[in-house]
């Protein structure tokens, strides 16, 4: 194990897969000479050259569509979109083509494409650069969706994504790029899709944290233990499609209480979907309604005090956990 920043773990994954498979190419805005808006791809142009690390014009829909075409005919493209908000410019190619081509053409082709993009609030970037949109992609059959929250998972999931035969939406978090974590050494550290990570074991309440909220949920669990004597089990699903529902259900059946935490909006969110699944499949095991902690149902404001209260922090997760432990009815922001 070696301590490594999330950003560097991602770079190592890209470099290893570029070395391992010459069909892998990177495309994106300012990923080469500039080194990437968040420096994830820094140095890769020098090692792999302009043919495989391609700076593109600012043309998101076309970059993604080219990734689709290239993936259909023999390459394994990894497209970087500068932030998840810009993926909306490419939504046509992502939904109508990347996700559906295999199905609508009767299974004749595969689309082994990875689309990387960061999301998240906290840097005062306002309503067009701060949102968490994983729920949009989770909604679409044909896509895989990864939301790594640690350096080890960032590396292992990205390597798995590049080797996968399906289109993968790989969602990083801006606030995590500089966070260090232990990463297994060697170039075969793979994290399988559909395998949740139990970040912390506990028997009193299950807290499911999505993307960066897995980290926030762990912080909340420490507070719950120290200040309330409550042992929370924290689960990071790591991938939303496929979803390791079994691990979550097994935990809920043991703790009988569940809080789901996400940075995205409440309506039609990841937590809404997961709460429905838990309600359908573990209703008899619940001692309190599943509770959600979500981002506020507003476009992300710029002003710091407003931004701070527009996405979840540990204190709200603690409150939600205490509420389900006391059997209080779910309120929340929705």
């Amino acid at each position: 194990m070696a301590p490594m920043r999330y950003r560097d773990a991602l770079r190592e994954a890209l470099a290893e897969e570029l070395r391992r498979d010459e069909r892998v190419i990177l495309m994106g805005e300012d990923i080469g000479v500039f080194g990437g808006a968040f420096k994830v791809t820094d140095g890769l142009l020098a090692e792999f050259g302009e043919g495989r690390v391609r700076d593109t014009p600012i043309s998101e829909n076309t970059i993604v569509g080219m990734g689709v075409g290239a993936a259909m005919t023999g390459l394994r493209p990894v497209v970087e979109l500068m932030t998840i908000n810009f993926s909306l410019l490419a939504f046509d190619q992502i939904v109508n083509h990347a996700a559906h081509i295999r199905y609508m053409f009767g299974g004749q082709v595969k689309v082994p494409l990875v689309i990387r993009m960061p999301q998240g609030a906290g840097h005062q970037l306002g309503p067009t650069h701060s949102h968490c949109l994983e729920a949009l992609f989770l909604h679409i059959p044909g896509l895989l969706v990864a939301v790594p929250s640690t350096a080890a998972d960032a590396k292992g999931l990205l390597k798995s994504a590049i080797r996968d035969e399906n289109p993968v939406i790989f969602i990083e978090h801006e606030a995590l790029y500089g966070v260090r974590g232990e990463v297994p050494e060697g170039d075969e550290h793979l994290v399988h899709f559909g395998a949740a990570r139990v970040a912390r074991e506990g028997s009193d309440v299950t807290i499911v944290g999505i993307s960066r909220m897995a980290v926030t949920a762990e912080a909340a669990a420490e507070i719950l233990a120290a200040e309330h004597g409550v042992q929370a089990e924290v689960i990071d699903p790591r991938t939303l499609r496929p979803l390791d529902l079994e691990t979550i259900l097994a935990s809920v059946r043991r703790t009988n209480r569940c809080v789901i935490v996400e940075e995205g909006w409440p309506h039609g969110g990841v937590g809404a979907n997961l709460a429905a699944l838990i309600g359908e499949q573990a209703f008899d095991h619940l001692d309190a309604p599943v509770r959600r902690v979500t981002g506020a149902d507003v476009p992300m404001p710029y002003s710091k005090p407003l931004e701070d209260i527009a996405y979840p922090h540990a204190a709200e997760i603690v409150d939600a956990a205490m509420a389900v432990l006391q059997g209080a009815p779910a309120g929340g922001r929705a």
Binding site: G65, G69, M72, L75, P77, H97, G106, H192
Partner: protein
Amino acid sequence: MAPEPATLPAPEIASEWLARMTLIRRFEERAGEMYARAKVGGFLHLSIGEEATIVGSVRALRDSDYVISTYRSHGHALARGTPPENVMAELFGRADGCSGGRGGSMHMFDLSRRFMGGYGIVGGNLPIAAGIALASDQLGTDEVTLCTFGDGASNQGTFGETLNLAALWRLPVLFMVTNNQFGMGTALGRHSAVTDLQRKGESLGVPGMRCDGMDVLDTHRVLSQALVRVREERRPVLVEAVTYRFRGHSMADPEQYRSKEEVALWRERDPITTFGALLLAEGVLGQDELARIDADAIAQVDAAVAFADASPFPAPESLYDDVYVLDGEVRGTYTTPARSAPGGETPRRGRQEPSSNDEIPQQLTEALAAGEDSGEPLGEPA
């Protein structure tokens, strides 16, 4: 560019071009009839009138080249060699359709013939074409991708984005704008500030050429010249094929945006009758051979309809096939039935409406009769 007289190819080649154009015409006419008889669902966009544009361009390609098209793509599949049986079966929504009954009229596909699909989103295929060309380039081949789209697509953002990128990266892609004079019901002059479409790529570094899309010889000649530039000079070219669709945009088109006189004028330049007349005048084919080519096309279409009628509907249990590539190592829940119907029971919400003379699978009939659409009781995850 000064028009050069296009010379006739060898007789057997000229004859094959005529035969293929005739097949497309007869196929499309029959498809329209089948639509009227509710054998075909959804939208049906016919390419009647555009046969020379299709055959002239596709015949300029090598087998190793790629073709990618639009929602008006039956003709491209047929030109590429996809059997009419499988194209008709796709229109009928049958298991033997060239997209397995998943795509329908707008989404034909035949990987084995490098026909990379029809696409329902206007302009959606341009980036994909550039990506295919990128792979060809990166893998060191000399394959070219022919990307066809309509005049309406030249107003989409992907047009500018993709032409710019293809020129910037010197990708081997030939863009062909099939100018059939209308973006759906909006005439060219009402939807594009620049109506000289071949020039629309100039500011993006893509030179333009124009061909008479009603003339298979001219289309083939211009495309062949363009392909040399694309393949050997590694520069994308935009070719405008000037043509006309004789039928409406789709089957549901009252055609209030054009006059009968205008249509009649263009019909005088029918690409099939004019080419047939030329071959007759040049002594390439006799009257009896012309008649045989037409009879042959009709017989092939008859066979295609019989085949499509006999082909089964896709099985209900295939509803969830090919959403994902599953490699055996996967864990977790991918789709709804994987979660709620362990053991692969009847797929839920598999709404199918086969025509009355076809057998509806019993399982589904019972489910529909019982008014069920929420399926099996929920169980443990698969």
